[in-house]
């Protein structure tokens, strides 16, 4: 005879299995959450490890004789054509007098960056008295030497497989033993534009380009976005047109950013013939891109203003416009500004549409106006990431750290603003 189980017993028989399942489900949840956070940790760690070294740069100390014959032939200063490179080379040769032969010397010259000549020229330009004297100067080492000092080039691998020869490494060691090599803060990274030489490449041009672009973006998208939000929340009648606008805004927020780039290329550059690569066009495209973000945030801010405020103002005889502009708008402003900052931080990180409108050019000069050719910080990262040189990988990480720093500051500002201006009704 089969024993009859009670419900209690049936439940208890399955309990262990069910508890196991519960435990499993919960663990999977923990693992999933951990995956995201773990990635974040690995990501930041690798970024800092790779990028932090780029903030330091190796410099070589040279005694350079500023020969008046070279710099000022016939007593006239000749900054345009004087052979400052030659002077730097003379300084190097003075350091290693026993290096002979053309190829050896050429290898020797490669230890110092071409930036040394620019530095010399700037020195002479600033103070003409130095001509004819011998100056002890710290000039930037070439990127290969820099990489060797930072340990990114392994001296133990086969000579053919590295960018520095055995002789060059011996010279670098000699310089190091002499105390003629030192590492100092990399000012070039923040004061130069782009360059083909990693040791001279900086992000100032990209930062200025981004700055001009964001200026255009905020001055267009904030007023337009706020106006649109006001209309949709306070005035829009319930009709087809308003519905159409609503649907459009929501869709635009999800349209891929590269499509906005196509729009910019076709409309602003080909049709309106605005200049290519200009921050003006970049700003226009980014303002269209951020407009939905700002409209959505502003609408939320307007919605949060309680109706009692409106009713009180209307009751005192204010017109609908006066209610909005004198009462609702000031109260909603903190929320709108927060939305604007978040929109701007999105615009700052955006690069795909900028590729479309020609902001990927190699531009050495720091842009000085809205129509100068320029790149933006994220695009500079993209350009450097493509460069094969080891030293550029390091600089890319550094540029990313700077970019993330800006984004962090903006988001922090938004959070602080929201906290301080938050109002409970």
């Amino acid at each position: 005879m089969k024993e009859q189980l009670t419900t209690q017993e049936k439940v208890e028989a399955g309990m262990a299995r069910r508890r196991r399942k519960e435990y499993l489900f919960r663990s999977v949840g923990i693992i999933a959450t951990a995956v995201g956070i773990l990635f974040l940790a690995v990501f930041f760690a690798s970024l800092i490890v790779k990028g932090s070294t780029a903030f330091k740069q190796t410099f070589v100390q040279l005694d350079i004789a500023l020969d008046p014959e070279v710099i000022a032939p016939g007593g006239e200063l000749d900054l345009e054509y004087a052979d400052f490179d030659g002077l730097v080379r003379d300084g190097l040769r003075a350091q290693f007098p026993d290096v002979n032969g053309r190829s050896d010397r050429r290898e020797l010259y490669r230890l110092v960056s071409v930036g040394a000549a620019y530095q010399l020229r700037a020195l002479v330009e600033k103070d003409r008295e130095v001509v004819g004297t011998t100056q002890t100067l710290w000039v930037p080492a070439s990127s290969n030497v820099d990489m060797l000092i930072k340990g990114n080039i392994d001296a133990n691998v086969d000579e053919a497989l590295r960018t520095l020869s055995d002789k060059q490494i011996a010279w670098v060691t000699a310089l190091q033993d002499d105390g003629r090599l030192r590492s100092q803060f990399n000012t070039a990274l923040f004061s130069n534009g782009d360059s083909r030489e990693p040791e001279l490449a900086g992000i100032k041009g990209a930062i200025m380009g981004s700055f001009y672009m964001l200026l255009v973006t905020i001055s267009l998208s904030f007023p337009i976005g706020v106006a649109a939000a006001i209309y949709l929340e306070e005035f829009a009648p319930k009709n087809r047109w308003s519905d159409l606008i609503e649907v459009n805004i929501n869709n635009l927020a999800a349209v891929p950013s590269i499509v906005f780039g196509l729009l910019g290329l076709a409309v602003f550059i080909n049709w309106m013939s605005l200049p290519r690569s200009a921050p003006l066009v970049g700003g226009l495209v980014l303002s269209l891109l951020t407009l939905p973000v700002i409209i959505i945030a502003s609408r939320a801010a307007i919605k949060a203003v309680p109706p009692s405020i409106r009713e009180a103002a209307l009751g005192l005889g204010a017109s609908q416009m006066q209610v909005v502009f004198h009462h609702v708008l000031p109260l909603a402003m903190p929320g709108m500004l927060t939305g604007a900052i978040i929109g701007m931080s999105r615009a700052l990180g955006e690069s795909a549409p900028l590729l479309m409108i020609g902001m990927v050019a190699f531009i050495v000069d720091v842009p000085g106006s809205f129509t100068d050719p320029a790149t933006a910080l994220p695009v500079q990262i993209y350009l450097w990431a493509d460069s094969p040189e080891r030293a550029f990988a390091e600089r890319t990480s550094a540029a990313i750290i700077v970019l993330l720093g800006f984004l962090l500051l903006m988001n922090l500002a938004a959070v602080i603003m929201r906290k301080r201006m938050e109002r409970k009704w």
Partner: protein
């Protein structure tokens, strides 16, 4: 006169107009003490005059500056000697560019002869004349408008209503920009795409299996006919999107479940903002990470187990893209899970089911539409994502489903076709717009569907 100076002058005139309008409104009723006799506050009369002063003139300025180049060029071409006028459109364009550069004092690419010199001088003269005319006209319009409005000021002029009416139209205009943007996108990609389909049949584009968009400069070059079969791009996009969703959906969903149902408020308070950071990292940074860290790592891992992995494998791009999308999936799933009424949850728990059983058998089925909507939005995001694939995926259009091989995507091809020097009429550049059209249409459908499902579902339990 410089247009910036002109604009500044117009701004100044508007400010003055405001002042005069305000003063006159008070004067008509006999001084500042009698303001209540006016229909509107005195300031509105000021705004009324200012609106008639500045905006029409600025509008004129913009229209003028839009038309001016075309008009000047037409006049210039008319004045050129016969031998130049008979040049082909392209050559004429080059010549005009040179004339403009010469006029601006920039570098010119041809020998400067007398005709060119003359043309440059004429060009400068035309521009100078046009600017003079513009300045006179703009100031005239501003002055006349202000004077007319100023004369109309009377105590019973409904100034506030008129000003508010203008303001209302401005608001409507601002909100319509979203529609204009959409129209602009559709038109700009559609026109170029239609031109592309005149050169390449639409069936070849949609169903062709080979993609090599180089078109030759000379007709007799090898491989002169580019082939524009976009199927490899579609499969490549789908492969990478698939890998991304394979990562993002389970991880995002389980994260949302854990944070919504299991975690303590403290863990939630820490983990949620951390995951939000993932959403804030620029895509170019993900691309860098995918190309320089993840791809070599996967390659090494593959080699160690004897697998052939391309250095620009679909796997690396897909994995990193999946990580990028986790926050999107998890926050939309979180919304969907939280929208399920507590009564359903309490009911299930009260009947003795475990939390996991409640989740799987009650809450997830109830939240499914919302989750699916969120996934659709995430797919649309993955398809349109550009920087990660540009940096980490390849350029060669392989028709393969092997995640270890290099594939290319629609967005990568748009970027490669349009970056750099381009001739705007070649099938190569036009192809980018055809791809853009495809991208726009597909993401639009996904978005409309996804947003619709999410919204409808949200209302279901309200």
């Amino acid at each position: 006169m410089q247009s910036t100076t002109l604009i500044l002058l117009l701004v100044f005139m508007s400010v003055a107009a405001f002042y005069f309008g305000r003063t006159r409104s008070l004067a008509t009723v006999g001084g500042p003490g009698h303001g209540t006799a006016l229909h509107s506050l005195p300031g509105y009369y000021g705004y009324y005059v200012a609106i008639w002063c500045g905006p029409p003139a600025v509008l004129l300025l913009f229209v003028w500056l839009m038309i001016e180049p075309r008009l000047v060029v037409a006049l210039l071409v008319d004045g050129l000697p016969e031998s130049y006028r008979s040049l082909s459109a392209g050559e004429l364009n080059l010549l005009l560019n040179n004339i403009k550069n010469l006029a601006a004092g920039d570098v010119v690419t041809v020998d400067v002869d007398v005709v060119l010199q003359d043309a440059a001088a004429t060009y400068n003269a035309y521009i100078a004349r046009s600017r003079q005319l513009l300045a006179v006209l703009a100031i005239g319009v501003a002055g006349l408008g202000a004077a007319g409005a100023w004369r109309r000021i009377q105590p019973d002029l409904r100034a506030r209503n008129r000003v508010e009416n203008v303001l209302r139209w401005l608001l409507i205009l601002a909100s319509s920009i979203a529609i204009f943007t959409t129209i602009g996108i559709v038109l700009s990609v559609l026109f170029e795409a239609i031109r592309f389909f005149q050169k390449v049949p639409i069936s070849e584009f949609l169903f062709g299996l080979s993609w090599s968009p180089q078109t030759a400069i000379r007709a007799d070059q090898v491989g002169s006919s580019g082939s524009f079969g976009a199927v490899p791009l579609f499969t490549g996009t789908l492969l990478i999107t698939g890998i991304a969703m394979f990562v993002a959906v389970p991880v995002g969903l389980m994260t949302a479940i854990y944070l919504a149902e299991y975690s303590s408020t403290r863990v939630r308070g820490i983990a949620k903002p951390l995951l939000e950071i993932l959403a804030g990292i620029p895509t170019v940074v993900y691309g860098f990470f995918a190309a320089l860290t993840v791809a070599p790592w996967i390659r090494r891992a593959g080699e160690s187990v004897g697998l052939e992995v391309a250095s620009e494998s679909a796997l690396a791009a897909g994995l990193v893209m999946g990580i990028m999308i986790i926050p999107l999936v998890s926050s939309l799933s979180d919304d969907a899970i939280n929208a399920v009424p507590t009564s359903m949850r309490d009911g299930a728990l009260g009947l003795g089911s475990t939390r996991a059983e409640t989740m799987i058998k009650v809450i997830l089925p109830a939240a499914l539409p919302g989750i699916v909507g969120g996934i659709l939005l995430a797919v649309s995001r993955a398809i349109g994502e550009t920087m990660i694939v540009v940096m980490a995926a390849g350029l060669s259009a392989n028709l393969t489903a092997n995640p270890f091989e290099a594939v290319t995507t629609v967005t990568v091809q748009i970027v490669t076709l349009l970056v750099g020097d381009q001739e705007f009429d070649s099938a190569k550049t036009l192809a980018a717009f055809a791809l853009g059209l495809m991208l726009f249409v597909v993401t639009l459908c996904l978005n409309v569907l996804g947003l619709g499902v999410v919204r409808k579902y949200r209302e279901q339990y309200d």
